[in-house]
Amino acid sequence: MANNNEKKTPAQQQYDKLNQKHELKRPLLKNCLRAFFVGGLICTLGQAITYFFIYFFNFTEQTAGNPTVATMVFLSMLLTGFGLYDHLGQYSGAGSAVPVSGFGNAVISAAIEHRTEGFVLGVGGNMFKLAGSVILFGVFAAFVVALIKTILIQWGGL
C-alpha cells in the first residue's frame, strides 16, 4: 500500500505518517501469541475430530480430512450464528481467521447479514463476497502450479 505514495498530496502523506505511527503501537507480540494459542487450539480440536472419524467411522487418516473440515465449518456456523465467532476474531486475529472455520465464518456471516435482501439476491449474491477472492486465487494458483508440473512431468521427464 505504500507504493502509491507519489499520487498523494502532502497532507495525505502526513496523514499516512501519523496513521503509521499509531498502527505500529499495536502490540505485535501479544497479537502473535493470541493467534498462536487460538489457532493451535482450533487445529487441536480439528485433530480430535479427525480421530473421532477414524475411531467411529470408516475413515483413514487420508480420507478423514474432508469430514473434519465439514464439521469445523458446521461448528463455525453455530458460533457465527450466535455472534461468538466475531468476538473470537477480535481476540485472536489471524488465529481464528486462518483456519478453515474462519473461511466458513466469512461465508456464513455474509449469508446471514444479507438475508433481509432475499435468498437469491441477498444470500446467494453476497455469500462469497469475502471468500470469493480466496477461491479465485486458490483455484487459479492451483491451476498454474498443476499445469506447470504436468507439463514438466509429461515432456520434461521429471
Partner: protein, 150 residues
C-alpha cells in the same frame, strides 16, 4: 471469551472420554500395542519372520502383520519426527519386503486407521468370533480402505 475457550476445551475432553469408553482396542493408537501377527493362510512365509524384519527398521515401532490368502498386510507406526518422510519409508519398505519374499503380495500402510483395524481384527479372532474365511474377508475390507484416496 473465556466461555468460548471453556467450551472448546470441554469438547476436546468430551472427545477423549468418548474414546476411552470404547471397549475394544481403545488405546491402540496411544500406546505401543505390538499385536501378535495373524496367519490366516498357513502355508508360505511365517508372519513372525516378516514382523521381525519390519521391526528391525529404525523409524518404525509397533507392527501389525496379517497374512491372508492373497495379500499380506503390514501396518506400522512411524516415529513422529520421521513422519515427514512417511511416504518414502512406506515405499522403501514395500520394495524391500517384496524383494525378500517374492511369492507374497504386500500391502504396506502407516495409517493409524489401518493399524487400529488390524488390532480390532486380532481381538475378534482371539475372542473366537470368526473363522478363517470371515477373517480373510475382513482383511480384504481393510485393504480396500487403504486403497481409498482422499
Amino acid at each position: 471469551m473465556k466461555t468460548v475457550i471453556f467450551v472448546i476445551v470441554a469438547i476436546i475432553l468430551a472427545g477423549c472420554n468418548l474414546q476411552e469408553e470404547r471397549p475394544d482396542s481403545p488405546l491402540a493408537l496411544i500406546k505401543t500395542t505390538n499385536p501378535e501377527p495373524i496367519q490366516i493362510e498357513k502355508n508360505g512365509t511365517s508372519v513372525e519372520k516378516i514382523r521381525k524384519e519390519v521391526e528391525g527398521i529404525d523409524e518404525i515401532y509397533d507392527t501389525a502383520v496379517i497374512k491372508g490368502d492373497h495379500n499380506t498386510l503390514v501396518a506400522y507406526k512411524v516415529r513422529h519426527l520421521d513422519r515427514f518422510r512417511m511416504k518414502k519409508i512406506e515405499k522403501n519398505l514395500k520394495e524391500r519386503l517384496e524383494k525378500q519374499y517374492e511369492q507374497e503380495t504386500f500391502v504396506v500402510s502407516s495409517d493409524y486407521k489401518i493399524f487400529l483395524e488390524a488390532v480390532r481384527l486380532r481381538e475378534d479372532i482371539d475372542a473366537g468370533k470368526m473363522n478363517d474365511e470371515e477373517a480373510d474377508k475382513r482383511l480384504h475390507e481393510i485393504i480396500k480402505l487403504k486403497e481409498e484416496r482422499a
